[in-house]
């Protein structure tokens, strides 16, 4: 079983890498240049899948946080921590690719539109999530605080999504795509989502293995102390 797991990992990443290649090829040679925005519209093929993946990674944090609060099992906390890191990373990519597009389309790197502001808030929320975790020493306390924070942070996700619908915004609400453009966008979703899932899984496994190792070490250190302690001390 373990052997299967190990051989699956390189194949998974190779397929993901090939799909990135296909996506890039389609972006460069298959998808036509959009008439209004010109070539800069091609940023959209990576920007949108990364944005949707950010929402999904944040949803994993939300579900894992809820799972911890309901069951108090530490693996939920490990999953939330892994997904929190990926959410912060993906959100950074959304902001940076969006800023690059904005510089060409609007002539400015940044404007305080509702969609951009809520996206910046989302990035800050998950960066702060990563900052507060190591600041709490007790694993149980850290898991509890992080779970409550993880639930609250997710509230910004619907705000980012709905901002262009609820408020006047310079950010496009949707872009009409030709069939070739739609196919290119669809292909881009596969490697970006696979990378998101793969990163959360690998990060989760590493955190989990390290926690199990720490727990074993603690038990190993405590066991002889308990065995050697006088009866009163042990009690």
């Amino acid at each position: 079983m373990r052997k299967h797991k190990r051989s699956f990992t390189p194949i998974f990443w190779i397929i993901t890498f090939i799909l990135y290649g296909v996506g890039l090829w389609m972006t460069a040679f298959y998808a036509p240049v959009e008439s209004t925005m010109g070539i800069v519209q091609k940023i959209f093929y990576v920007h949108l899948p990364v944005a949707i993946s950010t929402f999904l990674a944040a949803l994993v944090v939300f579900i894992a946080s809820l799972g911890y609060l309901l069951q108090r099992k530490m693996w939920w906390d490990d999953l939330a921590a892994a997904a929190g890191k990926v959410t912060a990373l993906y959100c950074s990519v959304v902001l940076l690719t969006g800023m690059t597009w904005a510089h060409s389309a609007w002539g400015t790197w940044w404007t305080w539109s509702p969609r951009l502001t809520f996206s910046l808030v989302l990035w800050l929320l998950y960066v702060v999530y990563l900052i507060i975790r190591p600041a709490i020493d007790s694993p149980q306390r850290r898991a509890l605080v992080s779970a409550v924070y993880g639930l609250a942070a997710f509230l910004d996700v619907p705000l980012v999504y709905m901002s262009t619908k609820l408020m006047p915004d310079i950010h496009p609400e949707s872009i009409a795509l030709e069939p070739a453009m739609q196919r290119t966008l669809l292909v881009w979703f596969a490697p970006v989502l696979m990378t998101m899932g793969g990163l959360i899984t690998v990060r989760y496994r590493l955190t989990r293995a390290s926690r199990v190792k720490d727990e074993e070490r603690t038990q190993h250190d405590i066991a002889p102390a308990i065995a050697g302690a006088p009866l009163g001390g042990a009690l």
Partner: protein, 41 residues
């Protein structure tokens, strides 16, 4: 900056960030696996 340069910049950012983190994690897991197998022996 031309439109092409903007596109190139955006894709470079995305690739460096996502694959950079993926490679770092894969190296870390490889290192952890090596350490585990050496302690098992």
């Amino acid at each position: 900056m031309t439109g092409m340069q903007h596109v190139f910049l955006a894709y470079t950012i995305a690739f460096v960030a996502l694959w950079g983190y993926a490679l770092a994690l894969l190296l870390e897991s490889r290192h952890a696996r090596k350490q585990r197998s050496s302690t098992e022996v």
